[in-house]
Amino acid sequence: MELGFLIGSVVKIGAILAYLYGLLWVLGHKKLWVKIVGVVAAFAIVQLAFTITIGDSTILNEFDSGLVFQAASMTMIALGLNLIYGFNGQFSLGQWGFYGIGAYTAADITFRWINGDSRGLLVVGIGSILGAVMILGIQKWLSRLRGVPVLSAFTFYLFGSVLVGAVAVVIGNALNPAISPLLGSAYEPGPLSQGIWLQIVYFLAIIFAGVFAGEVSFLFGLPVLSLGSDYFGIATLGFTIIVNTLMLNSDTILPFPEMKGGRGMIGIPKLTTWFWAFFFMLMVIIIMRNVIHSSTGRTILAVREDETAAKAMGIDLASTKLLTFVIGSFFAGIGGGVYAHYIGFLSPGTFDFLAGFNPLIIVVFGGLGSMTGTIAASFGWIFFLEGLLRVLLGQMGPDAPTWRFVLYPIVLLLLMLIRPQGLLGTVEWGFLKAPFVRPRENQHTASDVVEG
């Protein structure tokens, strides 16, 4: 049985890598209809593998499908981290914290919704939209003033956020009585808490969770990134620990009894289907790839390559780093929301800072500055270490799976010795490759003086 399991696992990992390669290839195809057909097929293949039964289980059994969802959300988190660390060069341990924020935020919205309380959606939704408006507005205003010290700017944003938060709560409380009768309760869902309406709320919950995580990262990153990034890594570690502490005390320090503090939040509707996981994963991949291959993306890379030269090229270091950090955190928030609604239960233990090294290891493993590497490593990592290894070790004894935490660092160490640039270095597949630039005929054959 063990040999069979082993071979099966290896085949599965190979199949997944082939699948990812195919997905990226088809996404990168020139013809639009091929793209669409390919994406639908990629979705359908996995969907079918979840449903078609061979013998006594589906092709991808319950355990495997769990791994697929975990890998999909890990992909989003790790891509965000790769943007911050691999592409922009800012070592961050905060990604796990933003993942947690996204998970709890999205979970709170839908949990309240199905329990007859619309304030989660209203407050977070209105808050994050107004927050974005507030941030962009203040940014415009400050850029006209010029030369405002970072900490003064931070104070404005902080006051702005408090104000926006208060306004959102007031509006949410005011509108809630009108909406909540339509929501019913957990046992008797009302018209708005089932069917298509619930799906819309789920979608909004995930997006708002991402936006909210992005806004928090803006407030946190503004002072830390502008005042020199030497301590950025430590500060982000602190951030993850603070977020974790708040989760542990969400029912005492924070006014969220439904999150149940250290006991963990239960009863989150399991709304993440493969459709949604696939959808959000593709969304993150496409957004990130388009960001990187844009003019802004090139400034992100320039900052990593050489900060001094970047400044001399007219790049605003602080705002480029901040933008990258916000986008990366947005991805983490989305990943968190997807995870929460797959697993249905959130425990602060999941968001412990030690576990926060997982996406870091994945990013380093796959290659700093390679999206393909991150995607492949997220899936490979989850399937190999969480899937294969956990089961194999599990057969050796009840405590043996803990040995994974010894094996991770060893694997990483070996990789650092053998291939320091990560498995894929900066190689990209298909869709993720930099757009081809056609060489140009010389119209401006320069005068002979510049002969090189």
């Binding site: 030369g147 957004i287 388009n290 960001v291 291959h293 844009s294 003019s295 802004t296 993306g297 090139r298 400034t299 890379l301 320039a302 390559e305 050489d306 001094t308 030269a309 970047a310 400044k311 001399a312 090229m313 007219g314 790049i315 605003d316 270091l317 933008l323 900066t426 630039v437 060489p439 140009r440 010389n442 119209q443 401006h444 054959t445 320069a446 005068s447 003086v449 510049v450 002969e451 090189g452």
Partner: protein
């Protein structure tokens, strides 16, 4: 800058500039005025404070004292990127390319603040993105061909031969569309043939881009050949200024370079 500049306003006017690192006076009481179109050399022995002066002009260092006016506007206290956007471009003594990016991208980066499309356009890949990105790429390719770098456009910058790296750094600085170009030892590490090519290149870009140039250089052949005016710095202080001929015959300069007593021998 959008505002038209009065032709009599000096491009660069530095007065009483000083930089003190701890107890070290790297630059003290540095004065310099550069008119539009001039090609000025800044020379001096190692550690004289030349690079430090550049770093203050470009905003990398905040001056301890003094004033720097670019086209009549003070740039002291501005961020380096703001100064670049006003029109001061520079290269570095030890080449600072974006080593792992392609030659094309090294120059394309320069266009980021007038790329013509926003990040949102980039994410949505709309028509505005495609049009501007294509234009920007073609502009870069044309630009590279002026410098005979077009055949390297897909190459990773760090793989270029040394001389081409210097050339690329100059091209990249020019892509920011500067009015004043600061070159920090552009000939460092070059052989005589490459130096001759560099001199031609400097003449060429000066005409082509209507530039005012300030350059630091240890290669006396280059400085004496192409600069119209020279300022000599020693221990952070200006010890001489004048035409190349005046500088060559200035006993103080000879002394600074060769040590006391040498002036009499020469």
């Amino acid at each position: 800058m959008m505002t038209p500049v009065n032709p009599s306003t000096p491009v660069l006017e530095v007065t009483g500039l000083a930089k003190i690192f701890g107890g070290l006076r790297a630059v003290s009481d540095f004065n310099m005025t550069i008119q539009k179109g001039e090609l000025v050399g800044l020379i001096g022995p190692n550690g004289a404070g030349k690079t430090t002066a550049f770093n203050m002009i470009t905003g990398l260092y905040f001056p301890t004292h003094g004033e720097i006016k670019f086209e009549g506007t003070s740039v002291v206290g501005l961020q380096p990127h703001e100064i670049t956007r006003m029109g001061i471009g520079r290269t570095f003594q030890n080449i600072r390319l974006f080593s792992n990016l392609s030659v094309l991208d090294n120059v394309r980066i320069a266009y980021h603040f007038h790329s013509g499309y926003s990040l949102t356009d980039g994410i949505l890949r709309n028509a505005n993105y495609s049009k501007n990105e294509r234009e920007l790429t073609e502009k870069t390719q044309d630009f590279l061909s002026i410098f005979h770098l077009n055949k390297f456009e897909g190459e990773i910058a760090k793989n270029l031969p040394y001389g081409q790296q210097r050339r690329l750094e100059i091209a990249r600085a020019l892509a920011c569309n500067p009015h004043l170009l600061l070159l920090d030892e552009p000939a460092a590490g070059m052989n005589p043939k490459e130096i001759t090519e560099l001199m031609d290149l400097i003449h060429f870009i000066r005409e082509k881009f209507d530039l005012t140039i300030l350059l630091i250089e240890h290669q006396m052949r280059l400085v004496m050949d192409i600069c119209e005016k020279i300022t000599v710095l020693d221990f952070g202080e200006v010890i001489a200024r004048g035409t190349p001929v005046e500088i060559q015959n200035n006993p103080k300069v000879v002394e600074a370079y060769l040590g006391k007593g040498a002036a009499n021998v020469a």
